[in-house]
Symmetry: C2
Subunit: 663 residues, 2 copies
């Protein structure tokens, strides 16, 4: 079948399990543009066929609460896509307890918000004069002005957070360990036990040994090669860091501008305004850098001449992951661990380029900025992703359909192509599918990336700062599953079925994130949140230091006062109406000798913070590895079944061969 | 062949690769004492046979510097024993760089010992009066009395130690990663790639499903089962801890006794005397508990009804490892991390049972006790083990030989048995072998245990305290290899050859020790050694605090004085000739208000110690995992070769079968 259009449009009916040589041949023809596309056609519409069944039992919104028909998906799309949806479903299921606990922690914060001693003290402190927040235009302000801010901080920075961080670290371990078991069951059910990833790929590697292969015979070379590959990405990483730096500078400038804004509403809420605009600009930068980098990663991966399909995918995935991870999280890391640490003290502020004063944390704690950052990025990114997944493929296809209809009206067309369009229901299936979007070139990498980098990262890495992350992830995933299903069943050409026994490099990446999460959460609780200083105050300085504590909040009486140091504003030239102002630090008073040194309390808090990190990390990593040891990678009954089958096989084969010989 | 002794002595010539059913049958006959032993016979003596070759090329002392003939070992003893010796040889080879660096670090300590500022200050401090070390009989003493002690401490507690601890952590990783590659090569060369551990064992598991199998169908049950198994060992563990406690109490009593000893030499060196006798008693306890526990572990493992040989071995090995590890190391842990931490201060000492004052560290640091403990235990244990391996099997066999000769003299014997003894060279090989020792019941577990628990543990876990450990291990291993070889070739019956693709559970245990080593070394450097206090003093309090340091030792001027606090002895009833004495702590002076509080320096040092732990652990674990990522588990050329072979196989099989059909 050849149409008389200039380029021959040959759509090849590729069978489910192609002959590898035929596959190579088709790839070559696709490469030199003889073929325009090659794909297996969808099943034709009908009440009983699999595609219809998939739509009914999987891709409809109405059945969002049901399990996915995994066997059906596997039979229609192949094991690789089946495994992706199995993983996605498993992940979504596991998110339910995490989201529930997260909501409980959030509610705990919400209900104890008003009764909190710290925010009460802040709200009542209308005689406490705080030092000005910026150099020129700012004036001293009263602490009670930031009452709302303090209450919101308390919402996220309370004792439940520590518990939730430990819970989520263990949750991540349990999730991965049980996924291994689920995967083992699936591969057994799908008959993939003896199949190896390489089987499909061998042919290519033997037929076309790439140039780099000889070179990397020895270990040293191959290690150096790996190192090189890592350093290649460094320009991209430095690009990201520059972007983060730009955001930091923007925040510093915006802070001064907002604080001296004409509009009173903004001037009062300048902290929210700065953080808000900062996050939004950050988000836009993240999105645009992502678009650029995807192309770069694609090029780089092809330059590496990976030998097999799965090697290509793993290499591309690792690159994309590393980049997106750094891109998405570096400003969050800045806000969590660097913001407000190096601000200096009144009279001796550290300045960037000797011009902009570095940001300080709010008197009620540093966690609120992190929380805002997390919430905004997570919310917008998920909405954006879902829009891109649904809207982006639909709009071009609508346009295309409109275009072809218009062409049809203009005249009957010049040949076979026109004929086919005439009665659409009679079109052969491969021609109908031609009008659908091809599944994008990166396979499932994009899908995994979105889930792993954004979601799993956000639900574990900084979860101490934002306990609602698992809930947001859960809601997103429920939509995501049906959206992806809809896309795969109706919007995309049927992808080439591929086999896979696991989710590839993603498992290692998930485990890496799990480890990183423990470390970051330890640091967030110890350094970012005010949990430790409050704890130290309650048991060492507060009213409960000597007697047994009755209620934690009572022990915090006077905490706010003890956490603020005093500065003598008359030391500076521009003497104002108040002599002394307060700032958030543990420093000696101006009248002590030497003034402004760190007090004993500072060192107590520092030692407690560091000790907390050590205890938390060793405890959680200990629990993690103990759980991993307790949960076997394969369910016991499956293990027994496999053994028995193997034994029977070994018994049978000689018998069968004997019988065959005797015949 | 039946002798007329009361019990039939049937020695079965078991072939190298036994029929599994025959094997079961023989096991049953062995079980009900019908057979007394079953073993493959050694090859008969001769110039050309393999046993002779092995002796010549492997078991002689003269060739200690040569590589082992692994292929020969494997051919004669089977893959499992071959792998053990391959591992042992690999480990010994890897110990060479570790031992070299360790010796360099030791030499560095030795050469800078005399020029060290700290020991100089101690030796010159003949006017510094130290508080008495025990309650009743002790008197204040001058700091310069402990000059030798300080110099020895300096030998092990210097900057090189930190470097060496990092080096050894990385060394452990590199060792394990490269061993994986070596193992891959060996299994390829020995044709074990497709062989699975279970193949041999399947028959047993299917034939005799144990009682526990049904029960543990579900995950929860099997996890609980694992937990139970762990808790079963707790009585043994508590026994060990009691023993450690006994040693601690002994040390406390011994300290008082030695310090008030009549003999002046001992009274002066009472610290050495206490540590020395403490370690020796500890060593004896360790050895006797080991003997007891080996029997307990054997019983417990059999109670568990493991289904396969390798399961039995793994279970037994894990039990023995856990016990021996706790047994051997718990007192070392006590000395490293608890000794001297809870001693209290003069006038307010903490007492055990309100009677014995807890031990203090020596003014020059706590590391020396740990060092002594390590050195003594490692040295004696290795000598003991080598004696047991060589002496223990030889003495009974000498006795036995003597006994049979005596019996022979008494009368010609009653039958075939006597005949055989008459002309010994004509004895059938299996009868000669009957006189040899059987290889002990635990297979290679004991051999691995000794290497892994004692050696690898000591060369990594507390290596910061004792840089000579790798050298001791290396020397021991060079002897060990030839000793084992000699045993296997001439002293033991030929063991049943068995296959194995790896060293089993030991690899996991080695990795676990590698992780533990990083943690303990971080704590030893931060808490046990005086590296951090010296560092803090040098850069914050000493003469170099403000100006750039020229030489580290100069910056430590005055360190000794700053690290000792002052106590007013007149506060106590028994007023002595001196009013003030010094003790090792950072506390306020008696005339400050409040007295004896921790000073700012204490909190500085504490924060620095904790920060060091965090930095060290994150850094070293980071490097470790990066190295593990960089080093692929399989050499690249081996990987390629295997792929190519697999491809060729796949190509060939259809061709061959076609040809077979056409014939």
């Amino acid at each position: 079948f050849f149409s008389n259009s200039t380029r021959s449009r040959i759509v090849h009916h590729v069978l489910q399990r192609t002959n590898p040589e035929l596959g190579t041949c088709i790839n070559r023809l696709l490469g030199n543009n003889t073929y325009e596309a090659a794909f297996p056609p969808h099943e034709t519409h009908g009440a009983q066929n699999q595609r219809h069944l998939l739509y009914e039992r999987w891709a409809r919104w109405g059945i969002w609460y049901k399990y996915q028909p995994l066997d059906l998906i596997r039979r229609y799309f192949g094991e690789k896509i089946g495994l992706y949806f199995a993983w996605l479903g498993w992940y979504t299921g596991m998110l339910i307890p995490a989201a529930l606990v997260g909501v409980f922690v959030f509610l705990y914060g919400l209900f104890t918000m008003d009764s909190s001693q710290v925010s009460k003290e802040i709200c009542e402190a209308n005689t406490t004069i705080m030092c000005p927040m910026c150099e020129e235009s700012c004036k001293p302000w009263t602490l009670s002005d930031s009452c709302v801010f303090a209450k919101v901080t308390r919402l996220f920075d309370n004792g439940g957070t520590v518990f939730f961080a430990i819970f989520m670290a263990i949750w991540a371990t349990v999730f991965l360990e049980f996924w291994k078991r689920r995967r083992a069951e699936l591969t057994y059910d799908w008959d993939l036990i003896d199949w190896e990833e390489e089987e499909r790929d061998i042919t290519r590697s033997v037929m076309s040994p790439p140039a780099g292969q000889r070179m990397s015979q020895f270990f040293i070379v191959s290690s150096v090669f790996k190192l090189c590959r890592l350093t290649i990405s460094s320009p991209q990483i430095s690009l990201v860091l520059t972007a983060v730096f730009a955001v930091v500078v923007f925040r510093l400038i915006a802070m001064e501008k907002f604080a001296s804004f004409n509009w009173d509403f903004i001037q009062k809420n300048w902290q929210f305004a700065t953080s808000g605009t900062g996050v939004c600009i950050n988000f836009m930068m993240i999105m645009s850098l992502n678009v650029v980098y995807e192309k770069v990663a694609y090029l780089l991966t092809n330059l590496e001449h990976p030998r097999t399909e799965s090697e290509w995918e793993n290499s591309f995935a690792l690159k994309m992951f590393l980049f997106q991870f750094v891109n998405l999280n570096s400003s969050t890391f800045y806000i969590a661990f660097f913001l407000g640490r190096f601000a200096g003290r009144p009279g001796k502020y550290n300045k960037l380029f000797n011009r902009w004063r570095l940001e300080e944390c709010h008197p009620s704690g540093c966690l609120i900025d992190l929380c805002l950052q997390m919430g905004v990025i997570m919310f917008f990114k998920q909405i954006w992703n879902n829009f891109m997944e649904l809207g982006y493929p639909i709009i071009p296809s609508l346009l295309q359909n409109w275009w072809s209809r218009r062409k049809m009206k203009k005249g009957g067309g010049g040949g076979g192509g026109g004929q086919n369009v005439e009665n659409k229901t009679q079109l052969p299936q491969w021609d109908k599918d031609w009008n659908l979007q091809p599944m994008n070139a990166h396979g499932l990498v994009d899908e995994y990336l979105e889930m792993v980098v954004l979601q799993f990262g956000f639900t574990t890495i900084f979860v101490a700062a934002f306990p609602l992350a698992p809930l947001l992830a859960l809601l997103n995933n429920i939509i995501e599953i049906r959206l992806d299903a809809y896309k795969f069943v109706t919007q995309w050409r049927r992808p080439m079925p591929a086999r896979a026994t696991d989710i590839g490099i993603w498992h290692g990446i998930l485990e890496g994130i799990g480890v990183l999460a423990v470390i970051t959460n330890a640091f967030v609780i110890a350094i970012t949140s005010d949990y430790i200083p409050r704890f130290v105050y309650a048991f060492k300085y507060g009213p409960c230091a000597d007697k047994r504590p009755r209620h934690t909040d009572e022990c915090l009486k006077g905490y706010m006062n003890s956490s603020l140091s005093v500065f003598d504003m008359w030391e500076l030239k521009n003497s104002s109406e108040f002599r002394y102002c307060r700032y958030r630090d543990y420093r000696a008073s101006p009248w002590s000798t030497p003034p402004y040194e760190f007090t004993l309390q500072f060192w107590h808090v520092l030692a407690a913070r560091l000790a907390f990190i050590i205890v938390f990390e060793h405890l959680v990593f200990g629990i993690k590895s103990f759980i991993a040891y307790l949960i076997p990678d394969m369910p016991k009954d499956l293990c027994d079944r496999m053994r028995r089958e193997k034994y029977l096989m070994q018994e049978m084969i000689p018998q069968l061969s004997n019988r065959a010989l005797s015949l």
